[in-house]
Every structure is written in structure tokens, then in C-alpha cells.
């Protein structure tokens, strides 16, 4: 909209609608974060008194700390694997029309559309049958599976905006397909790749339903948080949420300094 005057009604309208909606969807987070400061064991809003005790309590619950580390490890590894798979697959699918491509697309989207309860249940039974006992690798497999559709979708629509003739030109000038990919195509889809990576990380970290089936002891953070909420009234989970909001904000601001946040989302 750099071509339009700052005060034109459309720009104002778009800005207004956007912030009203954004404010509406972020309010629950704010409210939850404030309940973390309750002095009593109730998750009340407005808080009954002010205290930091629930932040301290996070560290008294080893399952929450262990959950955090497990979620972090899983998310990092899963998103790295997914982005690689998504890029190679998306490249082939957007550049070559082969019979059954639409079907393949639908099939690759399937982890998204199969309800997570069924994904979780299926894999639980499957892993027991094939005697795959490592919880970490089992979860990793399922997390890669669950994040792949998001990444694929985003990378594909990014690749659609890239003109393949540029690559052909590079190859015509003597570059190998690999070099022309890295030098020509990759920079153009960088925004899409970052979105895909970001998405995959969050989807893995945040995953609840499917993961819940596969964790026997020592679950991921979301599952542990859910179990905690279902078992205790106190706002320890609000405290974790408040911390996450702060760290997300810091992280996003930091990346904005480095790269310019708008380029990568």
C-alpha cells in the first residue's frame, strides 16, 4: 500500500478491522496471564490478591519442567526434518505434472485431516504391535507427520510465485540443478520457508491430542499442562502461559531486529 496516501479510508479501514480482531483474540491470553498473579489457589479474574508464588510453583513440579525440555527437543528436531522433506517434495510437485499428483497432494495432507484422536490411537496400537519402544522416536515420527502438511502447503504456495524459467535460465548458463536451486529459487521462497519452519515448530510444540496417546511417562509440556489443569485448581499453568507470552514477545522482537519480522511471517 506504499502507493496510497496514509490517510486513505481503505488503509484506515483495514488497520482498524485488523487491530479489533487481533485485540479480540489476544485478550484471553492477557486475562490468563493476569490470573497467574493470584495470591490464593484460585484462578480468578480479577485476581484475589497479588503474588508470584505460582511462578515459583512451576519449579516444584518436575513433570512440568521435564515436559518443557521434551517439547523443545521434539519441536526443534521435527521442524528441521519436516522443512527438508517439505521442500524437496514441494519442488517436485510444483514443477512436474505427473498422474495422480492431486491424489498425492490429498494423501500428503491427510495427517491434517485425520482427527488427531485417530492418529494418536492408530499409532499407539501400531507402535505396540511393532514393538517400537522409544517414546522419543515414536513422538518424533508422529510430529514430523503432523507438521508436514502445514509446511508442504506453505512451501508449495511460495514456490508457485517463483518463475521456473529463472532456474532454467541459470541451468542454461551452466549451473547445476542443485546450485540453481540454492542460488535462484531458495532466496525467493525464503519467506515461505521461514513460515513453514515456524509453523512446524509451533505445531509440534503445541501438539496435544495425538501426543497424549503416545506418552506413557514423562509427557510433553502441553499434555502435562492439561493433566495439571484437570487435577488442580491453582493457576500454575497460567504462570507458565504468562512466561511463554513474555518469551514469545522477546523472541519475535529479537528476530525483528535481525531480519525484519514481516519478511519471515
Amino acid at each position: 500500500m506504499s502507493y496510497s496516501a496514509p490517510r486513505d479510508p481503505i488503509r484506515i479501514g483495514i488497520t482498524a478491522i485488523s487491530f479489533v480482531v487481533l485485540a479480540a483474540i489476544t485478550t484471553p491470553l492477557l486475562v490468563t496471564a493476569i490470573t497467574a498473579f493470584n495470591a490464593t489457589t484460585e484462578t480468578a479474574f480479577p485476581p484475589n490478591g497479588w503474588s508470584l508464588r505460582w511462578f515459583e510453583n512451576i519449579f516444584n513440579r518436575p513433570e512440568l519442567i521435564a515436559g518443557f525440555w521434551l517439547s523443545l527437543k521434539l519441536a526443534l528436531l521435527a521442524s528441521a526434518i519436516t522443512i527438508t522433506l517439505a521442500t524437496t517434495t514441494a519442488l517436485i510437485m510444483t514443477r512436474h505434472a505427473f498422474p495422480g499428483r492431486d491424489l498425492l497432494d490429498a494423501v500428503l495432507m491427510s495427517p491434517l485431516i485425520v482427527p488427531q484422536v485417530i492418529t494418536g490411537l492408530s499409532f499407539l496400537i501400531f507402535f505396540v504391535r511393532v514393538e517400537a519402544n522409544s517414546q522419543f522416536w515414536n513422538l518424533l515420527l508422529v510430529h514430523v507427520l503432523l507438521t508436514l502438511p502445514y509446511a508442504l502447503r506453505v512451501v508449495r504456495s511460495s514456490l508457485l510465485r517463483v518463475n521456473p524459467k529463472l532456474e532454467e535460465a541459470a541451468m542454461g548458463l551452466g549451473a547445476s540443478p542443485l546450485v540453481s536451486f540454492f542460488r535462484i529459487t531458495l532466496p525467493q521462497i525464503r519467506a515461505g520457508l521461514f513460515v513453514a519452519l515456524f509453523f512446524s515448530f509451533v505445531v509440534s510444540f503445541d501438539n496435544f491430542t495425538a501426543t497424549a496417546f503416545l506418552t506413557t511417562s514423562g509427557a510433553t509440556l502441553p499434555v502435562e499442562m492439561f493433566l495439571y489443569i484437570e487435577a488442580s485448581l491453582d493457576p500454575t499453568i497460567s504462570a507458565i502461559s504468562a512466561l511463554m507470552i513474555i518469551s514469545t514477545t522477546v523472541f519475535v522482537l529479537f528476530v525483528d531486529r535481525l531480519v525484519g519480522i514481516n519478511r519471515i511471517t
Binding site: 502507493y3 485488523s18 479474574f45 504391535r129 502447503r153 510465485r161 515461505g192 499453568i237 519475535v252
Partner: protein, 276 residues
């Protein structure tokens, strides 16, 4: 020939992963087609379609997913525009708000909504204190509460893909159109919107499917009154150990979702030209 081999090799890991998934699912499919006596039978499908609870859950899931994802598209597009084209400060602020929301744990998001929407929640307390209403307005434990919760959770799934596409559309195209005499609205509708359509399609598919198969939001915000297909599957599988019926419901859900995705792809192909 060698080239085809290379291409096939590159596709293999993704296909292998899906194959493993297919095997696990096939097991569930099998469970849905074998009755208690071990014989092949459609009894669970008959049960599913003949029970109004399950039919209703399926239809209301389709319905709510449709209007929530449509709302996401309508309200999410301006946000994506702001992020991609707005002034740097505002764009960063918008991105920050959306990213924070997206990054928060799902369970916590929903509990936050319960504090706001309940009969004794913030909205109702404000309404009653200011005298606008004398009784609490039921914003939760019904379809409205579930729709609000789903909208909030699905919105980032719409905005991020659209933004990613918009980032790659050169603003010069819009400037050029404007320079040729189109006013801003016209540029938006005839240049920006069509060019960003792959992102919109992605966003619609992701948010639709998310809403359609949601489980936590209807469980927490529906109060038991608004069960969706995800709840049916969970209740049957975990609550009743009725893997046959749960499997049948899952297979039906899967078929419906695939149909919607294929339909959306085909419509977008015919409207916008084939996907390259």
C-alpha cells in the same frame, strides 16, 4: 530416466512416512469393518448413520467449520494485508500479536476464553454492571462459544499463508495498476486478491480442516451441548472402547475432509488456472 529416478528418490521419504501412517490407519479401518464376531460387516457404519447424535455431530461440524473458516478468510485477509503492506511499526505490532497468540498452548487459550465468555465472565460482568442487560447472556456452553474459540484458534492458520504469499507479490504491480488509473479498492480487488489466491486457498483448507476435526474447543466451550465429530470419536474410542464405531466415524470424517480438499483444489484450478 535417470532424472525420473532422482525425482522418485526425492519423493520417497515423504511417501514412506505416509505409508507408515496408512498402515496404522488401515488397522483402524479394519477394526471398523469387522464386527464382534470377527466377520466382515458394515454394522458400525450403520450404527453411525442411524444414530441422530452422530449424524448431527457430523453435520454441525461441517457447518461450523464452513462459517468459521469463511469468517477467518474475511477477517484474516485485512490482517495479512496489514502485515505485508502496512507501515513497519503497525505491521510488526500485528505480527507480534498474532505470533504470540499462535504460540500459546491451545488448552490455555480455551481456558482464557472461559474466563471471558462465562455467565460470570468478563463480558457478562461488564454488561450487567453497566446495566445493558439484567441477566447473563449465554456466550459459552453453546455453539456461539465454540465458534468464537474455533475462530480464535484458526485465524493464524489463515493469516500466515496469505501473508507469506503477499510478501512475494511485488508492490510495484499494485503501484503500476494504480498508476494506470485504478483506485485503491480496485487495485485490491483486481490485482492483489487474485495474486494472493494460493495463500487464501491454503488458509481456507487449513482452517476448515482444523475446525472440522476439533476436539478440545467443543469439549471445553461446548459444555456438553455442542458435540462435534472429534468428540464422538474420542468418546467412543476412549470412553467406551468401541473402536469399531470410532473407526467408522473416523473413516467417514476422513472421506468428507478429502472430498472438501479435492473440491477446493479443483475449483481453484478452474477459476485460476492449473497449479504449476
Amino acid at each position: 530416466m535417470k532424472r525420473n529416478l532422482v525425482l522418485a528418490a526425492l519423493l520417497t521419504p515423504a511417501i514412506a512416512l505416509i505409508a507408515v501412517f496408512a498402515v496404522a490407519l488401515a488397522n483402524i479401518l479394519l477394526l471398523s469393518l469387522v464386527d464382534k464376531g470377527g466377520e466382515f460387516s458394515f454394522v458400525y457404519y450403520a450404527q453411525f448413520f442411524s444414530d441422530e447424535r452422530y449424524r448431527n455431530a457430523l453435520f454441525r461440524s461441517l457447518w461450523i467449520a464452513t462459517y468459521v473458516s469463511a469468517t477467518c478468510a474475511i477477517l484474516g485477509y485485512p490482517i495479512a494485508l496489514l502485515m505485508a503492506r502496512g507501515s513497519p511499526r503497525l505491521a510488526t505490532l500485528a505480527t507480534l500479536m498474532l505470533a504470540t497468540q499462535f504460540f500459546s498452548i491451545y488448552v490455555v487459550k480455551m481456558y482464557g476464553w472461559m474466563l471471558i465468555l462465562g455467565n460470570n465472565g468478563i463480558i457478562n460482568r461488564l454488561l450487567m454492571m453497566s446495566g445493558i442487560t439484567s441477566e447473563p447472556v449465554p456466550l459459552m456452553y453453546n455453539e456461539l462459544g465454540v465458534a468464537i474459540g474455533l475462530f480464535a484458534a484458526a485465524l493464524p492458520l489463515m493469516v500466515f499463508p496469505v501473508n507469506a504469499v503477499l510478501q512475494n507479490i511485488s508492490p510495484r504491480l499494485e503501484e503500476a495498476a494504480h498508476g494506470l488509473g485504478a483506485n485503491r479498492l480496485r487495485v485490491l480487488l483486481t490485482v492483489t486478491l487474485p495474486l494472493s489466491s494460493p495463500g487464501i486457498i491454503s488458509g481456507i483448507i487449513l482452517s476448515f480442516v482444523f475446525c472440522f476435526t476439533a476436539y478440545l474447543t467443543p469439549a471445553l466451550l461446548g459444555g456438553g451441548f455442542f458435540k462435534m465429530i472429534g468428540n464422538v470419536i474420542y468418546d467412543q474410542a476412549i470412553g467406551r472402547f468401541n473402536y469399531g464405531l470410532a473407526g467408522a466415524a473416523a473413516v467417514v470424517t476422513l472421506l468428507v475432509s478429502i472430498t472438501v480438499i479435492v473440491a477446493v483444489n479443483k475449483i481453484s484450478n478452474s477459476l485460476l488456472g492449473p497449479v504449476r
